[in-house]
Every structure is written in structure tokens, then in C-alpha cells.
Amino acid sequence: MESGKPLLEVRNLNSVFPSNGKIVRAVSDVSFALAEGQILGVVGESGCGKSTLLLSLLRLIRYPGRVESGEMLFREKNIIELSDREMRDLRGKEISMIFQDPLSTLNPAFTVGEQIRESLRLHNIVSSNKLPWPFDGLRRAQEKERVLQIMNEVGIPSPMDRYASYPHQFSGGMQQRTLIAIALACSPALLLADEPTTALDVTIQAQILNLMKRINEDRGTAIILVTHDLGLASEFCDRIAVMYAGRFVEQGTVDEIVENPQHPYTQGLLNCRPRIGERDQTIRPIPGNVPSLANLPNGCAFAPRCSYVKEVCETGPVPMFETDPGHLNRCLITSEYRRQPDWDWGVVVGRERA
């Protein structure tokens, strides 16, 4: 976008879960950059590694999972090399996360108000006066004041009464707003939103997305929105990355991805989507199944399901091709086709799929 360094730059990130002697490659060779205030959508099917990608950014992958290699530069500092102390200062203050399942993510033993206040306290947002309990009355009151403001901001009605409620007393939408309030408490520069609306019904979904959009516009918070819904991502985001079996397979602006999808998987996703107001409403699901992340093929992971597949696809790792400025595509066939549409396709001795 603007000149200068991006807020976050990820290079060749690999995250793995060793399990039963095998290695589940949940994130493979992911690279992207995110500018301040930008919204990136990460779209992919269930189990393709979206949550693992976000958790990698906070170094919160659960043991024995780990970031195997790669760089994650936040404000030009590599997150992987931060000390535990620096990491804690980053979490919640600079980068915060909205989790997938609001009810199980809120701690059942504490009131929602206290859970929001904890973030303020940890990062000394309201006051850095460090008197211990019970001499922190003034600070506590100031923090509570701020929590009420935040609750109001994220649309929790009558915050005063709700401050002392427990998570199970909230509806799903209110729980999600609470999670957003926790994430926003310290005005982070980057918000990681892991399917923030999947658990909610459609009207609440729209409200939550509007809320996040407003936060993005008012505060300039950059967002990575993870979703399995390409339609939702295309309405909400600036750029979209399509993820398949742990890899980004296509990346570009929303317009590029929606108008000019190049990767066969993206094309498949767009075909799967019922488009309202179009005559041809046939839904064509992609044939076949997602490969196991513990046992990925050497070549293109999508090859077994791809209708353009050629022998070359299965011979080795496929790199990302920049087919148009800012538009990346991890497909040998369609990238090559784009470069020279009048190429003799018979040259590639194809093993056409039946």
C-alpha cells in the first residue's frame, strides 16, 4: 500500500505437529505481507491450517506443535527470536486474537468485566501505578471505567449491569463481543480474527463484521480474518489468500481473486458458491478429498483433485508465481498458460484425468 515497511511480513513459515511418528504439516511455506490498517482474508476449508497459522504468529501453538522454520517480522523484529518477556509484551498489546469458539474461550470462573480488565492490567494501559492489592483501588476503578467504555464500544448493552456477568449468562453474540472487547482492550496494531462469526447466526454475523470494520477504519487496526467463506472475505477484506492443505495457493486483491481467479482450487471454490441473481445456479463441488497433512504429496497438493493436472504437477514442489503485479498463484499450469496462452499444450505429455 503506502511506502515504507509493512507492519507484518511472514516469510516461508512452516509449522508442524509431530504425532505418532508422523509429522502433520499444518502450515507450509506461507509468505505474505500486511500493511498497517490493511485487512487480509485467509480462506480455506476446515483443517487446512488457518488457526495454526494465526497461533504461530503469537507463538501459541500447543506443544508438541511448533514453528519449524521461517520468519515472522512484526515491525521488522522477528517474532521467533523474541524473549518470553518480549513475547508477553507483544501478546494482547500489539497483536491480539479473537478465537473461534467464544464460549469455550472465555474462562467460566471469572466475570466478563474482569476478563477484559485483565488485559488492561497486564499491559498497564490505564495506569502504571503498581501498588499491589488491596491498595490498587483507584487504579481498579479507573480500569473498570475503561472496561465499561470498551464494552459500550463493542456494543454490549448496559455495560454496568453486564460487567459482573459470567460468560455462560451471555448469548453467543455477546460472548463474541466480549472476546472482541478483550482483544481490543489495549488497542493492538494487529487483530487476528479466527472465524469470528462462524458460531453466530446471520444477523449477528453482520453486526460483528460491521463492528470489526469500524474498528479497522477508526483505529487503523490491521486485521487478518480467517474464514472458510470466500464470499464473506471478498466483502470484508482488501486482500485475500486462499489456503489449501497448509499452503497459500493464491494471493491477491479481492477484485483479482474474485474477477480473475487463477488457481484451479480458487476457481473451484468460486464455482461452489451459489451466486444470487445468476441464472446458472448449478453448484459444482470440487471432486475428491483434502489430502492428509501428515502425508502430503511431493508435488502440488491439489493435483489429485485438479481437472488441469499434468505430469509435471506431481514431480516436485510448486513455487508461487507472480502472474500479475501483486497476484500470486501456486500452479504450474495456469501460471504458464497466463504467460503464453498460445503455448502448445500438447507438448506437456499430459496424464489427463478422466
Partner: protein
Amino acid sequence: MRSIKILERVLATIPIMFGVAIIVFFFIRLTPGDPVDIMMGQGGAISAGELDRLREEFHLNEPLHIQLWYFLRDAARGDLGYSYVLKQPVTSLIAERLPATIELAVGALLFSLVIALPIGVISAVRQNSWLDRLSMSTAFLGISMPGFWLGIILILLFSVQLRWLPVQGRISLGTGFQERTGYFVLDSLLTGNFAALKSSLLHLVLPSITLGAPVAAVIARVLRSSMLETLRSDYVTLARSKGVAESWVVIKHALRNAMIPTITVVGLQVGILLGGNMVIETVFGWPGLGRMVVKAIFDRDFPLIQGTVMIYAFTFVMANLIVDVLYTYLNPRIRMQ
């Protein structure tokens, strides 16, 4: 609103106690052996008239339902009858012995919590480490080891060999101890007698360890497994994502929730601590209820057995009530209903 709930629970103990009373009453009368015969022994120098007089004095000549009625009527007034053998009111016999039992139970509970809480937490945090394996196999040993055996080993080691700790009883002679409430530690404090305080605490050490070891083992295992679960939960990941330091994540977010199932087990164990220690009381010469009731059973001393069992039941119910109150405090999902 909360206190009304507690009051309700206290009132609910009345029918429970009533039921317990009826059950003990019949069960001890089902055991073979006649109290008067046993009391007179094999001497044979007693006339039939004398036996009848005793039976009459104890109401044993009356039909069962009349005996039951007398027992319930008196119990409702707080009178648990007269011990056949000791010829004293059951209530005062119990009042004399109960503090010793409770003091030992509290000692054992404290010991088990002090041991089990850190072990349970650390074993979960360092799952499968050598520390985890060591403490869990020790816990297994603690559960399967008979109490008297552990007691004897401890006495041999710490009292006989090392001479660090006393062998028997609740306090040494010559400390100038004055009894007030029957709780020796408390009494020593009340009278400001530090020699007695030291002596009574030292006397508590080995019996508390012996009684508390299996309890500690149970609590540690339950706590470990519920900690493993809470440490895997999403709210723990949320806490980390906020920037909470790892030690606080464990103590504040994971342990707090892991205590909920643990508290229930602690409550059950308290009942066991109060009731199941007659063997250990015997090993350590501890003058508690356990030894008294065993003797009463051999003597077929009906009123004393009945009274003691009632007291056991009552303390058990109360321990559970306290656990429930704690439980609601820890678990807001229950508090609201």
C-alpha cells in the same frame, strides 16, 4: 439468597440423620451377641434375676419398636443415652473423644493438601517428566499401602531410630498443659503455653502423615488429571494470548477451574478422614472416637455405637455441605441456578 440455600441444606440434614439413626439402630441389633451376656462375661456367678434387672434397665426387654421410639425421642432432645459399659452419658463420652479425632483429621487434611496441591499442579504442567512419573508412582503406592504398615514404618524410622518424634499419644507429660476445649493445639495457644504447643504439634506429625498419605495420593491424581484438561482448554490459550505470564496462567486460569472437580473429591476424603482412622488411632495410641467405637462394638454397647455413628454421619454431612458451598463459590455456573 445464598444463605437461604445453605439453611435449606442444613435443614435437609434432619431427615438424613433420622434415616441414619433408624439404620444403625437395626443393624447393631442384627449382629449376634447379647449386650448383657457379654457384659457379664463367662463368670456365671450372676443370678437370672440380676440379668433381667439389667435388661430392664437398658429397656432390652421391651419390643424393638418401643426401644426405637425411646432412642429417637431421646436423640431428638440431644440425649444419646447411657453407655452400658462405661456408665456415662454417650454425649459426654463423645465430647471427650471427638476433639482428638477432629484434630487428627484436620492435621491429615492439611498434610495431604500441602503435599497434593503442588504435586498435582507440577505433574500436570510437566506431564511425563521424571517428576511426574515419580510422583504418580508414589501416589499409587500411597493409595495401596495399608495405613498401619506405613504408621509402623514411620514410628520405627522417626521415633525409634532417629528419635525426632514421639511414639504415642497427643502430648508429652510435664509441659504444664491445661485442657480447655479438647483441641490440644488450640488449648496450648489459648493458654500461651509454647512447650505444650510444640509437643502437641510434634505428636500430630506422624499420625497426620499416616492418615493423610492415601488422601494426598487421591487428591494429587484427581488434581493432575483435571489440570491436564484445563491446561488444554481454550480459555488458557486466551489467557496466554493476552500476555499473562505462564505461572499466572497455571495458577489463576487453569488451577482455579481444576479445583472444581478436585473439591468434590476432597469432600469425600474428609468423610473418610473422620471415620476410617481406628487402625491408625490404635497404632499411635490416639484417644479418638475410632478406638472407642471399636471397643463399643465388641461390647455390644448399643447406645455408644449408635451415638458415635450418628456423630460420624453428622460430620460427614457437614463436611459435604462445606464442600458444596466452596463448590458454588468456585463454579459460577452453579451459583446462578
